[in-house]
Symmetry: C2
DNA sequence: AACCGCCATGCAATCGAATGCGGGCCCACC
DNA sequence: GGTGGGCCCGCATTCGATTGCATGGCGGTT
């Protein structure tokens, strides 16, 4: 293959040095702000660099310093989805992460992975990135082995997820238990007593499990025992919410509220309820989780739980950088808050 | 600042060479598939590389070859928006682009920029990326000067937008004129005659202008002269669509259909219509453009125009790579198609 | 048997910046 | 006046892979 290498007159640090009448290392030091360069020299060098439109060669710099100042953001999903079906919640988080990286002068590499691929290697190995941020809803038991490998090979990474005690790398996540409790209290406060939970609340989906646990705490505090018939599996897809509600209706299980583990599930649930001729929230109140953009556009608009995306982006990047610099950071939990709309309050 | 440089026993190509009993350059050649290495030695080297978990150092490789095999994707917006308000259409395109990059073994850097920042330099300069993909809805007249600078400094880039004859870099875009015509024909076919266009159709937003032109062509073919009172400015925000419809209603301008230049505008328009007690599509049919995820969740679901995201991602990457390798590529236009939902057909 | 040519590989230079170490210079202090 | 100590800066090396050119060996041809 012909690699048309273009003639480039890019100035190097040697060119700057020549014009400034100093040595190349001095240029390097001056531009990185080393204090072993006098202010006068530094300013002269900076002026020339600006004039020549010089910018440090990232590859040479990274090679020598063994620091790429780049982090890789890996999304993964259980299977390859249609592009338009990428989890909107993670896309929203992308904005927060890019902003935080920009603030810190970090470059951000991005990649979508299938859970079963071996995305877990190669990134830090090849010095493309100093560390990884992992985002994804997927069966946790499947991807635990990848995490273990990452830990084993000493890769620096942070993941978004349930903050548990497994200690598989650094973790940042919402306070899902607290959020579940809030949701429960909201529905109970509206007089609902038979609250169906839609989401696979087990070791495969620890975040969902946490949300369910919070709901149970709220029920317990109100003196209500959780009814297993009201717990329905669903992963974060619209169709799963639809199917779960259809099943509930087919069973004849009585319920006056639905707490879905994600907005996508909730939206599917609302569709099934509407088809069944049930009014929302008259017959059944519906809540979701995530506050994706579509949540405010449903009919009626969806009450949901908003996670702190901005904080999440900041914490993820901060925790990762701390780990890279060998300053350990404990797992972090971020508070979430209710967004009350008409799907519960009519 | 202490840069905790970790002791790393990463194997280098020298280690592989030593074990294989060959020289280091031979390892390099073997792993890149040079045909000047015998099959036997290549296989031996590959086996050892696999065993040692070797991966090529990206920085060293890029430094020497002057090729990073990385492209940078720059989103820009007119102003910094709330993270959750990032244009959903571009986020969807992100999926297509990442996939295409993965197929070609390219890394993807991503960054969000304000239109007024000087994002236009530094990326190719610093050898972080071989080329740029530019995505954004913004005032074209503002960002033309950036494009000119990019062209001037010889940066390789492709932008998504209106395919015009300005020749400011390579361009890939939907056939907006054709799509606008289709939309017009659809509405005309439903008996609508007074079609309001919501979108700033001028040199600031060439894509919107193209869509409007297509609409006018359809009107012309039906023997209808476009009414300037039915052309209303709006940029791609929900509030702008809302305001535009409010203005139309306040004017007393008669209209039986709305063709919004984007789904966000259409969603705002529907809100204004609903508030005014008008039925959709009974009183007013509404169409959008983009087919963002929320389009199917509005009430009623929104008829819109779906752009070919997968094709777009492929073409953008392909065109960019062609340009990097000095094989010029003409601008490309992709067909779009109607997605008919109940906001026009009831 | 001498010679040509090609295949496979090695040698050494190279990409551009970062960094350990040594040294000149100036000032202060004894 | 000699000496010690900072402050600034230069020299030489280094990071790890790629690449132009040289070379050794082997088979084939006349």
């Amino acid at each position: 293959m012909i690699m048309g290498r273009k003639p480039s007159n890019r100035p190097t640090s040697f060119d700057i040095a020549y014009r400034a009448g100093v040595s190349q290392p001095t240029v390097s030091r001056a531009l990185r702000g080393s204090r072993s360069v006098s202010a006068a020299t530094r300013e002269r060098i900076e002026a020339i660099a600006r004039e020549l439109n010089y910018s440090v060669d990232k590859n040479a710099s990274s090679l020598r310093s063994q620091r790429s100042n780049t982090i890789a953001l890996l999304f993964f999903e259980e299977q390859t989805l249609d592009d338009s079906k990428i989890n909107p919640f993670f896309l929203a988080m992308l904005g927060a992460i890019t902003r935080q990286c920009a603030n810190r002068g970090l470059d951000l590499l991005i990649s979508f992975q299938k859970l079963e691929d071996d995305w877990h290697v190669r990134y830090q190995d090849s010095h493309r990135a100093d560390g990884l941020i992992l985002l994804g809803y997927g069966d946790y038991t499947l991807y635990r082995s990848r995490l273990q490998q990452l830990v084993g090979q000493g890769t620096d990474f942070v993941r978004w997820g349930s903050v548990n005690d497994e200690n598989l790398g650094a973790t940042v996540g919402s306070d899902n238990v607290g959020a579940g409790r809030m949701a429960g209290e909201h529905l109970l406060g509206l007089g609902r007593r038979r609250i169906a939970f839609l989401g696979q609340a087990d070791e495969h989906y620890p975040e969902f499990a946490d949300r369910y646990r919070g709901l149970c705490e709220a029920l317990g505090a109100a003196g209500i025992a959780p009814d297993p018939a009201l717990l329905r599996n669903a992963i974060s897809l619209e169709d799963e919410g639809y199917a779960a509600v259809r099943a509930l209706l087919a069973d004849g299980t009585a319920f006056d509220a639905v707490f879905a583990a994600s907005d996508l599930i909730a939206i599917g649930a609302m569709r099934a309820l509407a088809e069944a001729g049930l009014s929302i929230p008259g017959d059944v109140a519906v809540m979701g989780f995530d506050d994706i953009p579509a949540a405010s556009m449903t009919n009626p608009p969806l009450t949901t739980v908003m996670q702190d995306l901005k904080g999440a982006g900041e914490r993820l990047v901060e925790t990762l950088m701390a780990q890279i610099e060998d300053r350990q950071r404990p797992a972090e939990t971020l508070p979430a808050r209710l967004v009350i709309r008409r799907s519960t309050t009519g």
